[in-house]
Symmetry: C2
Subunit: 239 residues, 2 copies
Amino acid sequence: MTAPRPLRIAEIFGPTIQGEGALIGEATVFIRAGGCDYRCVWCDSLHAVDSAWRETWAPMTPKAVWDEVLRLSGGRPLTVSISGGNPAIQDFAPVIARGKAEGYRFACETQGSVARPWFGDLDTLVLSPKPPSSKETVDWKAFADCVAAGAGAGRTVMKIVIFDAADLAWARAAHARHPELPLYLQPGNPEVDPERSVDPQALADRMLWLVEQTTGAGWFVPRILPQLHVLIWGNRRGV
Amino acid sequence: MTAPRPLRIAEIFGPTIQGEGALIGEATVFIRAGGCDYRCVWCDSLHAVDSAWRETWAPMTPKAVWDEVLRLSGGRPLTVSISGGNPAIQDFAPVIARGKAEGYRFACETQGSVARPWFGDLDTLVLSPKPPSSKETVDWKAFADCVAAGAGAGRTVMKIVIFDAADLAWARAAHARHPELPLYLQPGNPEVDPERSVDPQALADRMLWLVEQTTGAGWFVPRILPQLHVLIWGNRRGV
């Protein structure tokens, strides 16, 4: 048996609360994987995506990753959220196996472009297909493979970031493709430079617009949630 | 058979999103019942509690209540949240029966001082025992009766508003009494006058404090959520 290949890790931080989506408010340690097959124009995690940051990504064995989660959480089980970048371009099965053996719960957020058998080991699989404003294109066959790979997970949900009316129309069509997935919509945050402060009023306005265009327009399917961490902490990393 | 007694209704509004707790972000029409057996010193809904507002509470038959929910929702099923005041001092069984027959889902939020058989008909029962800062005292026997009455509900959760360290210690003890109930904590909002604007930074600071004192201190049980509607819309009614 050979040693597992090291993982490229942009950051591991927490415990803090999950700021968005299905697990909003839940105590979480985040593992942010380095590297991504997408380049969304509004990416808020370029430090984990763009290879310009590659030398800041630590090569870590699954054991080293797990030891860091244990250290941060004081050995007390909580939810571990694996995000990125796209964590599905790497193999997190060994990390998940270690954590589950110790009673930790796992969530993973990925765009749904690469299916992994370990999706089925998760408690929560969040698939975030990227709408037109991202300038990326979704491969729906690959997405369906991800849904299938997550069949053993506790639950799989779909989360879509919405910047404009075109994104919203696209989200309705995406939901029609996968009505079996609970849908979460999140207003996009156009200010992603951590050096610049966030305007909470502008974020509130985007949230209001999205609620008006969905709930207010009689479409009651999606849950609409802002990025709490941006509303409350601003754009700083590691929170 | 006699006609059901009219309900005292402070307001019916929506659809908007649920701003707090287990259903945060979900499309909801709110039925706010008038009247309460508590007088929490920081009550944010005195217009539905204090009898000074009594003449603003409309006496409505269950059918009239339901017709208004239908009108607001355009007849499209969504979640109906019954709050107050304390809705459990009135009989909402006929409203729930009408709505469930048409595919609507029901949530109810009550402090847990009065148990009702119709708790078992709900999709989500939110029991919100009031911590010491409220200056109210919880009758834990009555609370346990509420938990028992909700056994048939889709789920029952506990939500506690936290103003200070004493409230937080109390919440830990409350959770120890009912570890079977998923726990949600919410920072208290000391500014409850709808005529005064909310300071979003102060709300953010209260949220940060609560996250530090729970998640940051290694207590990973509760989900910590702010009142989104206050963060985003301010204290205005009917949103």
